[in-house]
């Protein structure tokens, strides 16, 4: 599911860039795991590693014990942040199969100045 979402972001990357929006993915995976994922799936946007769930915790997105071997991971979430660093749109899905579509995000993204 995660991969399905990242793939739809990659497919819409040109549209995001055209609107001046930089998609950035964050998970607990190590840089090596993320690099393998990016290479295999052809992702070209930045993928960042938060193995100790520090940033994930600061954003209150820790899904305790939900990862492999009971590791803490991030719950799925998206934030659109404008150039001043202010949050302009948040999506905290209630069902991890359901994610925001690129079209929906771009609807909001178009309004950024």
């Amino acid at each position: 599911m995660c991969n399905s979402e990242l793939r739809s972001i990659e497919q819409s990357l040109a549209a995001f860039n055209e609107h001046g929006i930089r998609p950035v993915a964050i998970s607990v995976d190590s840089p090596d795991v993320s690099r393998n994922l990016a290479q295999q799936a052809g992702y070209t946007f930045p993928i960042l590693s938060d193995p100790n769930v520090e940033t994930i915790r600061r954003y209150d997105l820790v899904h305790a014990g939900a990862g492999e071997n009971g590791h803490d991971i991030a719950r799925p979430a998206e934030f659109l942040i404008d150039s001043s660093g202010t949050v302009r749109w948040v999506n905290l899905t209630e069902n991890y199969w359901i994610r925001a579509t690129p079209e929906k995000i771009l609807e909001v993204g178009r309004l950024l100045k």
Binding site: L48, E54, A77, S83, G85, V87, L112
Partner: protein, 152 residues
């Protein structure tokens, strides 16, 4: 077993159930419109359920030399399918909602918490850098942060 005696609705229902699960995970999950609400998979399940019911009725009405064989087969196949369908529905509509509430997540209008994390080459990248590094030669208008569960 001759073709005439083969309980085709039962087997068709069974194969369609298996196919529904396989097509979802191999194909439909990649398409937002069939993933965000799995209508295609649920439709296939519904058709499969009708076939299974028809097949089961046929098995129980059968006038055969060994009627128990058809009946046991129908019970087993129908149960297996019911399990798959129930497991899918449970995973999608129940278990997938077991997520933390995240009530203290940054809200619209608030400043996004600053962070510095490693990218795939191990280089440190901060939110401030992501917001200021030009995209195709012009200043970015925004950053879309996508938190995901991880590749596990």
């Amino acid at each position: 077993m001759t073709l005439r005696r083969l309980n085709w609705p039962l087997w068709a229902g069974f194969l369609l159930t298996i196919a529904s699960v396989i097509t979802f995970f191999s194909f439909l999950v990649w398409i937002p419109s069939t993933r965000n609400f799995p209508w295609a998979t649920l439709l296939m399940f519904a058709v499969a359920a009708v076939l299974l019911v028809l097949g089961a009725r046929r098995a129980f009405a059968a006038q055969q030399a060994k009627p128990w064989r058809a009946k046991i087969g129908a019970v087993i196949l129908t149960s297996v399918c019911a399990f798959f369908i129930a497991a899918f529905v449970f995973a999608f509509f129940v278990a997938a909602r077991w997520l933390p509430a995240s009530t203290n997540a940054p809200q619209v209008g608030q400043k996004a918490p600053e962070f510095t994390l490693s990218d795939t080459s191990g280089k440190s990248v901060s939110l401030a850098q992501l917001l200021s590094t030009p995209i195709n030669g012009s200043a970015p208008k925004g950053v879309l942060l996508i938190f995901y569960r991880g590749y596990w």
